[in-house]
């Protein structure tokens, strides 16, 4: 029972980190970023290169990797997405092209075999008679922390208020003197950074390989559909629903069936409440 509780929380936290960034950049800049999964994979590989190849200490490597990927996201938005923003299809295509390019680049550089990233914390914790890997707990704690910080940042800072203003009405925001293009860059950095952090946190206990970004991104899509596109509270709640449903299904039936959960969640949501659970707020 306790195991479900904790493992579900870990999955939910990872999903939420991915989904919130994805929905944020859509809500603010209307960019449906099909390269979001690449950020996750790039985060994991950056951590791998920094620690295992360049022998940078883990505590420095992790934030450095986040910064690298955030910078990559900003450059991508600035030079590849922004010139094509007039066409929704072109934006979808270019982000898709980036995701393909990243996957291929990783494949050519590192090959398809699995890579290992050392654990941040090696110990196991025993809570109520259940062994939980310290790394998983760290992922949970960091995930909750990052989401909290993000929430405070958006609710309590001037920059956060500007981001909200842009997401509600970009034209009006521009008239009010908010530099929308700079806001897009900042949000892209946040979005790419949180996805990268998720990738780094899972890298010690999941497999690091070139296509690792696809499935989590598909989950992020599912979460965003269930939660309502552009809604942060919606995507957090949907992450919890999906994270726990998958854990429960894995526990009661088998891990094989977990992939069906997101499919069913998407279909059910679209059938009964197409706008997502955001509509409930």
């Amino acid at each position: 029972m306790l195991q479900i509780l904790i493992y579900g929380a870990v999955s939910s936290a990872i999903y939420a980190m991915l989904a919130v960034g994805f929905t944020l950049i859509f809500g603010v800049a209307r960019i449906l970023n099909l390269a979001h999964g690449s950020f996750y994979a790039l985060g994991a590989y950056s951590a791998y290169v920094l620690t295992s190849v360049l022998n940078v200490p883990l505590l420095i490597a992790a934030p450095l990797a986040v910064l690298i990927v955030a910078g990559f996201g900003v450059l991508m938005e600035r030079y590849l997405v922004r010139p094509l923003r007039a066409s929704q299809l072109a934006v979808l295509m270019i982000t898709l092209a980036v995701s393909l390019a990243v996957e291929q680049a990783l494949f050519i550089t590192f090959g398809s075999e699995y890579r290992n990233v050392p654990s941040f914390v090696a110990d196991k914790l025993t809570i109520g008679g259940v062994d939980i890997g310290g790394q998983r707990l760290l992922a949970l704690v960091m995930g909750v922390l990052v989401l909290l910080l993000l929430w405070l940042f958006i609710q309590r800072t001037r920059l956060g208020a500007a981001i909200l203003a842009v997401s509600q009405d970009p034209e009006a925001a521009q008239y009010m003197g908010i530099p929308t293009n700079r806001i897009f860059s900042i949000v892209m950095a946040i979005s790419a950074g949180t996805a990268a952090l998720a990738g780094i946190l899972v890298s010690p206990f999941l497999t690091v390989q070139p296509t690792m970004g696809l499935l989590p991104m598909v989950k992020a899509f599912a979460i965003v559909i269930v939660g309502g596109l552009g809604s942060i509270p919606g995507s957090i709640i949907a992450s919890l629903i999906l994270g726990y449903s998958e854990t429960i299904v894995a526990y009661l039936i088998s891990t094989s069936w977990t992939e069906l959960v997101s499919l069913v969640a998407v279909v059910v949501t679209l059938m009964i409440r197409p706008a997502g659970i955001r509509a409930a707020f």
């Binding site: 898709l96 599912a222 559909i225």
Partner: protein, 309 residues
């Protein structure tokens, strides 16, 4: 309506003649095989273009229809040992069923729900093939399908014929009043509603048509490879098809088919580059997006034949 001009028909006949005669003149089994794959990609690209190119609703999971069509053939022919000729119609039926399943809930909605749902569903189906390996053969897929025809050359001609029919049917539809409505939907859905048009109905039916041809192509492909495997559902297949349409010129249908054939040939010639092949696709896509937003093949053809119209 936009009439088909004589020069278009002549151009089409020349292309079909070249394609039909090439393996006779060069007579190599390898070329026949490559061309068969080219032609099947042509069917997939043309069918994508009919729905997404005309209505502007981006389908990022065409591989869902390709894969379901192919797996239907796999199950029928290899596991249930049915007459292989049943594969084609049933592949169409199953793909169309899936198009209703995904299209009905998502095409009613504004926003990119359709694109996301298509991409997710195809990716999840690929996973399901691996997970339920007892039934689907997992990574290896299903082997030992019966060929539709013994001679590869005949099968190629058969596939070429199906491509020709696909392009003709879809082009005629696209240039009919139906196609006009689909283009109107691409332009402004609210105005279409004000004109009394049931927008959702037309979108779903055009997706069904698109899925039907894609499923047919999938079943054809299965009976060419005589095996089906999970990568048929992969996002890469969908993207390859979309890039082909982009190169061909969105909404032109014949452009998509020609681009599919040329790009498949090109990929085959670059086989030596191995892993770098996908890069070529990716770079092509980026170049097209930035420098040729209207595509290459269809605009080129129009420019070339301008004076003859």
């Amino acid at each position: 309506m936009r009439q088909l001009s004589l020069i278009d028909i002549a151009g089409g006949l020349v292309v079909i003649a070249i394609l039909a005669l090439a393996p006779v003149l060069i007579s190599s089994n390898y070329l026949t095989g490559v061309l068969t794959v080219c032609v099947i990609y042509g069917i997939w690209a043309a069918s994508w273009d009919f729905m997404s190119g005309l209505t502007g609703r981006e389908n990022f999971g065409h591989s869902l229809f390709i894969g379901t069509g192919a797996y239907t053939a796999g199950f029928l022919s290899s596991i249930w040992t049915a007459n292989p000729w049943y594969s084609l119609p049933l592949g169409v039926v199953v793909a169309v069923a899936f198009s209703i399943l995904v299209g009905f809930p998502t095409l009613r909605l504004r926003g990119p729900y359709f694109a996301l749902a298509m991409l997710s569903t195809s990716a999840i189906l690929q996973r399901l093939c691996l997970i339920f390996w007892e039934y689907t053969g997992g990574e290896e897929g299903i082997y030992g399908l019966d060929p539709l025809m013994k001679t590869p050359l005949y099968y190629y001609w058969f596939a070429l014929g199906i491509l020709a029919v696909t392009v003709i049917v879809l082009t005629l539809l696209a240039r009919s009043h139906w196609g006009l409505l689909l283009r109107a939907i691409r332009g402004d859905e609210a105005t279409c509603q004000a004109a009394g048009i049931n927008v959702t109905f037309y979108k779903i039916v055009s997706l069904m048509i698109s899925a039907g041809f894609a499923g047919l192509g999938g079943a054809l492909y299965a009976h060419y490879q005589l095996q089906v495997s999970p990568p048929l559902f992969s996002v890469v297949v969908s993207i390859t098809v979309i890039i082909m349409v982009y190169v061909g010129g969105i909404g032109s249908i014949y452009g998509a088919a020609v681009a599919a054939i040329l790009l498949t040939l090109l990929t085959e010639m670059l086989r030596g580059f191995g892993e770098y092949r996908l890069w070529i696709y990716t770079l092509t896509l980026m170049m097209i997006l930035f420098f040729l937003p209207n595509g290459l093949i269809a605009p080129l053809w129009r420019r070339m034949t301008e004076r003859l119209r």
